[in-house]
C-alpha cells in the first residue's frame, strides 16, 4: 500500500525483520512491533503507550530523523535500565512516510 513504509526491526533474540509499517493508522513503533508479534505479548507496551514503563525501549540504528523527545519520554528513559545514547521509547515514535528505511533494535526486557 502506498502509505506503507519499509522499516527494519531487530528483535530481542537478534533476528532482523524487514517489515512494512502503515503510516495512516496512527500507529507508533511499539504498536508496529506488537502487530507483527516481534516481541511476546506482555513484554512490550505494558503501560499501553503512555511513556510510563520503558518496555518498548529501542536503540535507533539508522540516522532517520525522528520527532524530538518530549519531557515524559526523557524522564522515563532517565529511570529505565540498559539506556544508551540512541535509546528511544517506541510508543513515542509515530510512523510517518519520512521514516522510510528506519532501523531499530529492541532493548532487552527489564
Amino acid at each position: 500500500m502506498e502509505q506503507d513504509i519499509n522499516i527494519t526491526i531487530i528483535d530481542r533474540e537478534g533476528v532482523k525483520h524487514q517489515i512494512e509499517a502503515p503510516t495512516d493508522m496512527a500507529m507508533n513503533l511499539m504498536e508496529i512491533v506488537r502487530s507483527y508479534e516481534l516481541a511476546p505479548e506482555g513484554t512490550i507496551g505494558i503501560c499501553g503507550g503512555m511513556a510510563m514503563c520503558a518496555s518498548c525501549q529501542c536503540y535507533v540504528l539508522s540516522d532517520t530523523e525522528l520527532p524530538e523527545m518530549q519531557d515524559d519520554e526523557e524522564a522515563m528513559l532517565s529511570e529505565a535500565f540498559d539506556v544508551k545514547e540512541n535509546s528511544r521509547l517506541g510508543c513515542q515514535i509515530q510512523m510517518t512516510p519520512e521514516m522510510e528505511g528506519l532501523e531499530v533494535e529492541l532493548a532487552p526486557e527489564s
Binding site: E41, C47, C53, D72, E74, A75, E79
Partner: protein, 351 residues
C-alpha cells in the same frame, strides 16, 4: 482463614465489577491485591488520565472509575487483602481452593477468579550484580515503616514522586539522606521538587546529580554504595540503607506456577462458555486471560466478569434454578440491608 464464595485475585476494574455481578446472585467476594489500594493499573499507573471507551462515559479519569466501581459494589461488602500477593493455591478434597499470600494469609473459596491484569506490580531493581545479596540487609525497594530508618544513614535513588516524597519525609527521621538521580531534572509534583530544593539548600538532603549507583559494598549488610557522577571518578558514600525507587512493573509472578495453561504471558480460557481455565473452578477474566480475538479492554473485562459469575453460581449452588434478572425490575438488595429499587409508577385516575 478467610472464607468466601468467589475469591478474586486482583482488585482492578474487572475484579471490582465482579463483586457487583456476584452480589446480584447473592454470592460473596473477597479480593487479594499486591498493591496497597484498589484500582489496579488505573490507580497505580494513571489515576489522573482519562479513559474514553467506558460505555456511557464520554470521558472518565481512571481514578474516578475506580471510585465509582467501589461505590457500585459497596453494598455487597467485599473483603480485601491488600498489599499481599497471592502465592500458592491448593485444591481441597471438597473441591474448594485455599489461596495463601506471601504473608501467609489464607483464603478458602469454592471458586477462584483471577482478574490479575498484567500480574502483580513488583519493584524494578537496578542492574547491580550483587544487589540480591543485600536485599533486607540494607537494600529495600519499598518503604514500609519509616521509623525503621530513624537515625540511620539512607541513600535513595530515583527521579520520580516516590523518590522525592520519601527523601523529604526521611530527612526528618534519618541521620542523613542522600538522593541520587541520573539527571538534574526530576519528574514529580512541583511542590515536592521545590521542597527538595529547599531541603538541599538547608543541607538536610545531600543531592548528587547527574549520577548513578554503580556498586554496593558491605560485609553481610550494606556499608557503602559506589556513586558515579557523569564524567567523574566513582566515590563511596557511607550508608546503612540503599533504597532504589525506580517504579513498579507488572509480572505474572507465582500465578504462572499454578498449573494453568499459559499463552502469550496470559491465562488460556474457554471463551465459548464461561472464561474457565483448564482447572475447573478457576476462572481468568480481564487483561490476564487470552483466547482467540482477545482484546485487553476494561469493557471486555466487565463482560467476562458477568458471564463468569453465572457459571460460578452453578458451581456454588449445583442444580439450583436461576434466571437472569434486570436490576431495573428486581432492584439491588445489598448484603448490608440496603435496597435500591426503581420508583413505583403512580396509578391514579384522571378525572
Amino acid at each position: 482463614m478467610i472464607t468466601t464464595d468467589i475469591l478474586i485475585i486482583g482488585a482492578g476494574p474487572t475484579g471490582l465489577f465482579t463483586v457487583f455481578e456476584a452480589g446480584l446472585l447473592k454470592l460473596n467476594c473477597h479480593l487479594i491485591d499486591a498493591l496497597p489500594q484498589q484500582g489496579g493499573q488505573c490507580s497505580e499507573l494513571y489515576p489522573k488520565k482519562p479513559i474514553y471507551d467506558i460505555p456511557a462515559y464520554p470521558e472518565i479519569l481512571a481514578g474516578d472509575l475506580t471510585h465509582k466501581l467501589m461505590e457500585q459494589c459497596k453494598q455487597f461488602e467485599p473483603g480485601f487483602t491488600l498489599g499481599e500477593r497471592a502465592e500458592t493455591i491448593d485444591k481441597q478434597e471438597d473441591g474448594s481452593f485455599i489461596v495463601t499470600t506471601n504473608k501467609g494469609t489464607q483464603h478458602k473459596a469454592p471458586v477462584v477468579a483471577i482478574a490479575g491484569g498484567l500480574g502483580s506490580f513488583e519493584p524494578r531493581k537496578p542492574l547491580l550484580d550483587n544487589i540480591t545479596d543485600f536485599e533486607d540487609r540494607g537494600v529495600e525497594y519499598m518503604i514500609k515503616e519509616p521509623e525503621f530508618y530513624r537515625d540511620k544513614k539512607v541513600v535513595i535513588a530515583g527521579g520520580g514522586d516516590s523518590a522525592l516524597d520519601w527523601s523529604i519525609f526521611l530527612s526528618d527521621i534519618a541521620s542523613s539522606v542522600t538522593l541520587i538521580h541520573r539527571r538534574n531534572e526530576f519528574r514529580g509534583h512541583l511542590d515536592s521538587v521545590e521542597k527538595v530544593q529547599e531541603l538541599k539548600n538547608l543541607g538536610k538532603i545531600n543531592l548528587i546529580t547527574p549520577a548513578e549507583i554503580t556498586g554496593i559494598n558491605g560485609n553481610g549488610k550494606v556499608e557503602n554504595v559506589e556513586v558515579t557522577k557523569k564524567g567523574e571518578e566513582p566515590i563511596l558514600v557511607e550508608t546503612n540503607h540503599f533504597i532504589p525507587l525506580f517504579g513498579l512493573s507488572p509480572k505474572l509472578g507465582p500465578i504462572a506456577n499454578w498449573g494453568l495453561e499459559i499463552e502469550k504471558n496470559a491465562i488460556k480460557v474457554n471463551n465459548a462458555l464461561d472464561y474457565q481455565t483448564n482447572i475447573p473452578g478457576i476462572y481468568a477474566i480481564g487483561d490476564v486471560n487470552t483466547y482467540p480475538g482477545k482484546l485487553k479492554l476494561i469493557l471486555c473485562g466487565f463482560h467476562e466478569a458477568t458471564l463468569m459469575c453465572q457459571s460460578a453460581y452453578q458451581i456454588i449452588n449445583p442444580g439450583k434454578r436461576y434466571v437472569l434478572k434486570y436490576t431495573t425490575v428486581a432492584g439491588v438488595n445489598g448484603f448490608d440491608g440496603t435496597r435500591k429499587e426503581a420508583p413505583k409508577a403512580v396509578v391514579k385516575a384522571i378525572q
